[in-house]
Symmetry: C2
Subunit: 331 residues, 2 copies
DNA sequence: TCAGCTAATCTAAACGTTTCGAATAAGTCA
DNA sequence: TGACTTATTCGAAACGTTTAGATTAGCTGA
């Protein structure tokens, strides 16, 4: 910038004014400065600017697993919205590990991000403390976290699983196996609650033997499904609490020599773009991924623009949608 | 830091020395400063540090489509490796649009990233110019770009498609439809070349009517497959040049009332984690995604550490692997 | 003519670090 | 004792911006 100033026989202050369109600068000088900028190929240094302004125009984004299509879709939308608003996105993923998550959030805060969107991995006792020092907008997506009282956009998980389970019950299934996500997450707990609620509403007792922990991972779900399918009185249907796990479930079904939906019906949380071209065509609970991402990004932007000023934390709850295909058969 | 210095009755210089372990500071003073840091809850400002040091410890990463499982896997690995080395990752995706890509790269450079990993969308005439100003390490992945002479890690696309096509030929297929990616990309061109090469090796003429442009997108591939499948003498096999497009291909097959592999055999580029549990179990060309991500990240780290000093640009070419499943039947 | 105004431009401080060289104190040796 | 070392510690400049306030010049109108 000093170079530009010298070349244009002006001061750095005036150059700055021209670049930012701040003060009135005479047409001739503006002209001179602009050509100097072009000649020299000057680019303003965003770091110095950030230091002075106290704002980086970067939003931190942490998700548990960027390999998971659900998170991917959300990240993609968040990215799009924030980019359009002139913000950059710093992405971290932590492989569902709370410790790395903490590490990464600290790093993001050190790097002075202007806002934070977090899809928390599990219940994080430290999260509250880590965030307590800062005053930047934070929004939780997908999962909420005990004691962390910030904006959040989540799904009505219980309701969604209630609907899916009820659908299976209506098909006549009575022994419905449930492959649960980690109960350290709000989603894991809420989804399980929906399953229990549906059983109860149908007047069925909850049989603990039919519930297995899959921890949102394919491998764990495979083992869980294996256990359920080798039960003396095996379930006629299985529900998987997320997308990754249903792959494990299908692998177990295949390996045990059964087929879906003939021998065992399957439904799961989270939809796939390819779900209606491969067989079995999975019946799923589709999340409104675009809406989740858009809302989360928008809340951050609103907070940053001071639009929500000091409104209390908002908790947005969106609804899932049961997409019935052909992986569940009537009993 | 000034606060810490005052609290510890020391100078900022000494505080800095303690934090960075730079100079010898007496045990007592070190002690005093460390407790002051803890008491005050001081965090060093990474922005100011970056300004002074001229390094941000952030690597920019742009990919065409973060929704594509291939890119997702690569991003995930890159992320992991760089994080472990203490670098943050700024992610951009541009939806296969060259203009937004340019925009984003400029933004990343303005933000003073220390390095750049680019999976370029299409041939980008401006990329060379945009990158010309900088001296940071740049590595291209997946695709290369005319005139952009930097490190790159790519796949031997031609060979991979040659293998896949040859496999189909060996099954007896003679009319193999090819759904191509955009020919504005090196991958699009190289893969098509592999197809042609295989036909030629088998002594078959290349029939232009059997090649359609799918532009790496599901919708375009759907239309392309529709055209091929309604040809008077329709192909007995289809090859899709990437993962997204094969979904469109399968949709077309379904909508036209055919089935795979009975009526038409299908193979595609890029593997899916679920490919062997849903039917048809797709025969695919699997890319070594982990290796690609690791190598790309490692090259950036090596360059940054000065290990590769001023070695000429390295072009790493990895090999794909044909994973034979059951979506192609012998004719 | 000159006080008072406006418009254009500039000077210099600030943002929070790092680091070079200087200053101080303490110890060593002739 | 005084010159020389060594170990600590510090002052101040620098990184590249932004911006408040100062300065200057040119007008206006009494």
């Amino acid at each position: 910038m000093l170079d530009v100033a010298e070349a244009a026989r002006a001061s750095v202050a005036t150059v700055s004014a021209v670049i930012n369109g701040t003060a009135g600068v005479s047409p001739e000088l503006t002209q001179r400065i602009e050509t100097a900028i072009r000649d020299i190929g000057y680019k303003r240094n965003a770091i110095a600017r950030s230091l002075k302004l106290g704002t980086t125009r970067i939003i931190g984004l942490t998700v548990a697993d960027i390999t998971n299509p659900f998170f991917t879709d959300v990240v993609s939308v968040v990215q799009e919205v924030l980019h359009r608003a002139g913000y950059g996105v710093m992405l971290c993923c932590n492989d569902e590990d709370v410790e790395t998550q903490d590490e990464q959030i600290k790093l993001l805060l050190d790097r002075m991000v202007d806002g934070l969107i977090i899809a928390p991995a599990g219940d994080d006792a430290n999260l509250k403390r880590i965030l307590s020092g800062t005053s930047i907008p934070v929004v939780l997506i997908d999962r909420v976290c005990d004691g962390v009282d910030t904006d959040a956009v989540v799904l009505d998980n219980q309701r969604a699983v209630f609907d899916a389970t009820t659908y299976m019950l209506e098909l006549g299934h009575r022994r419905i196996g449930y492959i649960s996500g980690s109960l350290d997450t709000s989603t894991g707990r809420d989804r399980l609650a929906g399953y229990h609620q549906a059983l109860e509403a149908a007047g069925l007792p909850a049989d603990d033997a039919l519930m297995r922990l899959g921890n949102f991972r394919e491998a764990d779900a495979y083992n869980a499904a294996m256990q359920l399918l080798t039960l003396p009185d095996r379930p006629t249907a299985l529900f998987s609490a997320n997308n990754l796990m249903v792959i494990g479930v299908m692998k177990a079904i295949r390996d045990i020599g059964l087929s879906c939906p003939e021998d065992v019906s399957v439904a799961c949380f989270d939809d796939f773009p390819w779900a209606d071209v491969f067989r079995p065509q999975l019946t799923t609970v589709a999340q409104p991924v675009r809406a989740i991402g858009e809302q989360a990004a928008q809340i951050v932007l609103d907070r940053l623009a001071g639009r929500l000023a000091d409104a209390p934390p908002r908790r947005l709850t969106l609804q899932g949608r049961l997409v019935v295909r052909s992986s569940c058969r009537p009993l």
